[in-house]
Amino acid sequence: MQRRQTSAAWLFLAPFLITVAVFFFYAFARAAYYSVTDFNLFNTPKVIGVKPYADVLGDPSFRRALGNSLVFAVLTTALQTVGALLMAVALNRRLRGLTFFRAAWYMPSITSSVVITLIFLWLFQRRGVANYVITQAQAYAPLTLTFLLFLIGVQVTQVLLERRRALPAGWFDPALGVTSALLATAVTAALAWIGVISAREVPPFDYQYFADKWITLGGVRILSIPLLVVVIQNTFTTIPTLMLFFLAGLQNIPRALYEAAEIDGATPWQQLTRVTVPMLRPVTFYVVTVGLIGTMQMFDQVAVIGSAAPGDTLITLAYYVYANTFKAGAAPVNLASAAAILLAALILAMVAAQRRFFPSEAS
């Protein structure tokens, strides 16, 4: 019986194991081997030791790729995790019609990165929709500011009045907020109508995003503007999915915990940091792990944007490997392999470190 099961198991697993063996383990071994040779796709590889690794580490383009990849991974993972968590907490109510909204939010994460990158390239042109929106925001700033000013003023007044009537109104009381918003809108509209405030004339905002521009810190180039656009794009595409993960996790937190916290007089902020965040640890762990693995391998966006962004602004480790493998002529495949091995080591180290320092209760 046992022997029969064993042979059946190997038979069932055969297609999987064969493809994994050929296209993964053999490939992995070959990459490791090439990374210590002088292989360039056309010659017979000869072992030359760790020189390719030294060459790669000395290559300014590799260092830029490493820096870009790390900055991108950390920034994107942090932004999307925090953003998704906050959105999930805000939406953690049993509401009707969530299915419809969910469908709308899922749109960015189901379409291919190529499609989204093309649309973002178009949006972030010099005379593109993104800059137009910024221009409009600048033009209507007087109105927006008036609205906000009145909103805060009316809300504060209302809350103070309620408190004088001994009602426990919070500063963000939703019901008062509705009246404040309506009142502020009416006042702003009235002021605009009689011409006290109006939209400003502003020159079109025409910032060029896909250019050799950098955010520097102490003279060190940290983040290029094109990469920042990709960070925004990636956060935008992943937040909804991660938010739904968090939402599923939130539904599993026992209500009793919040009730106990409320009885103990915990503020909403304390409830978030003392109950929600610790209880969501397993989901957070998953989300961060998947986020890091995914963002460290970012490739599609760089390849699609290609020559639209200059030089080193967008190069990532994954793209460095690809570009060096398919360089015209004798390609430095050994360098590409060494970089690939380093990338894999980096990702595995990140996952291991995360497991070590942020143990998940689930695992």
Binding site: R30, V114, L118, A175, Y258, D300, S337
Partner: protein
């Protein structure tokens, strides 16, 4: 925490002020949440919707971007249809065929003191630069004639009727047939619909003058006479018209809105005054298919990319369903030495290592096997580890009793799997099929590496080529149209199977 808002319906009974106050807060909070969700929907759908709307514009880069899009206005769509029907008899495709003429109205305001002359009207050469394939097609300017007549006046606005006529280049009469010119030898030759290649006669001086202007691949109309086929004229895909007025005058109206306004609004360019419905509203979409014609085979590359993407996706789904469920079942339910090792190394570890590590080896291997095509692409990703993981999780959650009773009945392992377990796996298989389809359809890295010939690209690789070819010149119409087209199948899949998308993702996340 608040209860569901719909259960907090106000009761007509008198209640304490405190209760009413709380209920009001609850309703208000729900209102804020819905407003927030609405804003979020705008944010997440915004880029797609703006992209999709702009993809029908003549110039998606117009600034300031406007949401008043004539291509989506019923009035102009109807006019585009009727102009197309006038020009070619086909309201869908439009174009200008020999012997037909089109009338187009323009209104020019000439205030007192300004020149009162009629506008200058001319056809201009316009063929979007197609870099994938470079067949130069016949231009309306070289064939058609333009005439302007005043038709009326109200105040200082004068109306003019522009008539564009495409002449017939033969004196022969008889049945008209359509054909495509083939590679010329001493004579002009054309391939008829049925595939037959016939010599084309040029029986008028006008036709003879055009002999060397017509290129291979040009669609033409022929007349079948007693002596053979003679050229009636080329089928013109579009009729670009330019209208200029003098300083002081202004163009205040036209049958279709202009594609470009230049020279302080004194010069209007209409890229096509015989658009037809497809040539107007879906012009960029039509271009995506038509301008990527492979010069050798005449096939649309874009169409090949779509076909390839579908083929690849279906192959991946088929392989995934078969092999992932087999492997997942073995890992979940069969006991054999090395099970844990296989799970950790071949399922978990594989998913953590970036694919760039396998790039060189897989590329060289597939090249040596002569498999740098769709089949090699399929083979290298035949059994995805993620799918195996999904099926393993699913089979682990199923009750053991089923298998045990099957075993008592004496069924073998394979029979048990096929007859007992697999029929129960419907939801998991659907989820697997969806993720595989989506993964394959959106896959970019491996197709980019493995597919080397532009007819064998998948849609994602083809689109990134569009970016290189058209993006540089700012011709985003085609790029956006291609992007929208390539998003449609996944969106349909998502709308139909939404439940499975959401459930599988969230479940596996909670399980960690």
């Amino acid at each position: 925490m608040t209860a569901a808002p719909h259960t907090a319906a106000p009761r007509p009974l008198a209640r304490s002020a405190q209760d009413r106050w709380l209920a009001r807060r609850r309703w208000a909070r729900a209102a804020w949440l819905y407003a927030f969700m609405l804003v979020m929907s705008f944010v997440f759908l915004g880029p797609f919707v703006t992209g999709a709307l702009s993809s029908v514009k003549d110039n998606p880069n117009e600034y300031p971007p406007s949401l008043k899009i004539p291509q989506l206005t019923p009035q102009y769509i109807a006019r585009a249809w009727s102009l197309g029907a006038q020009g070619s008899g086909d309201g869908w495709q439009g174009g200008l065929t020999p012997g037909r003429s089109v009338t187009f109205d323009v209104t020019v305001a000439s205030p007192a003191g300004a020149p009162q002359a009629p506008p200058t009207v001319a056809l201009f050469p316009y063929q979007p630069v197609s870099l994938v394939a470079t067949t130069r097609l016949a231009q309306a300017r070289d064939y058609a004639q333009v005439r302007v007549q005043p038709t009326g006046q109200t105040g200082n606005a004068r109306r003019y009727r522009v008539t564009v006529t495409s002449p017939v280049l033969t004196k022969q009469t008889g049945e008209t047939v359509r054909a495509v010119l083939t590679a010329p030898d001493a004579n002009l030759r054309a391939r008829l619909r049925g595939g037959q290649v016939v010599p084309v006669m040029l029986d008028t001086p006008e036709a003879q003058a055009r002999q060397y202007d017509l290129n291979e691949g040009q669609p033409v109309e022929l007349v079948r006479g007693p002596a053979g086929y003679s050229l009636r004229g080329p089928l013109l895909e579009r009729t670009p018209l330019q209208v200029d007025v003098q300083r002081g005058q202004a163009i205040t109206g036209s049958t279709l809105p202009p594609s470009d306004r230049q020279n302080f609004g004194r010069s209007f360019a209409f890229r096509n005054v015989t658009p037809g419905l497809l040539g107007y509203t879906l012009s960029n979409y039509r271009r995506a298919f038509n301008e990527t014609r492979d010069p050798k085979s005449g096939r649309s590359l874009f169409l090949s990319w779509v076909t390839n993407s579908f083929t690849y996706a279906f192959l991946r789904v088929a392989a995934g369903i078969l092999f992932c469920s087999l492997a997942g079942y073995a890992l979940a339910r069969l006991t054999f030495p090395g099970r844990t090792l296989i799970f950790f190394s071949a399922v978990l570890f594989v998913q953590m290592v970036p694919s760039q590590v396998n790039l060189v080896s897989n590329y060289v291997l597939l090249k040596d096997l002569n498999l740098l095509n769709l089949w090699g692409l399929w083979l290298s990703g035949l059994v995805p580890a993620g799918g195996v993981f999904l099926m393993k999780q699913f089979f682990e959650g199923m009750p053991r009793e089923l298998e045990e009773s099957a075993a008592i009945d004496g069924a073998g392992t394979f029979t048990t799997f096929l007859r007992v377990m697999l029929p129960q796996a419907g939801p998991a298989l659907i989820a697997l099929a969806i993720t595989q389809f989506q993964g394959a359809w959106n896959d970019f890295f491996w197709p980019l590496v493995i597919l080397r010939d532009n007819a064998s690209f998948t849609l994602t690789v083809g689109l990134s080529n569009f970016r290189e070819l058209y993006g540089g010149q700012g011709d985003y119409g085609l790029i956006l149209a291609g992007a929208v087209l390539s998003a449609i199948p996944v969106i349909i899949l998502f709308v139909v199977f939404q439940r499975y998308f959401v459930d599988t993702g969230a479940d596996s996340a909670v399980k960690g």
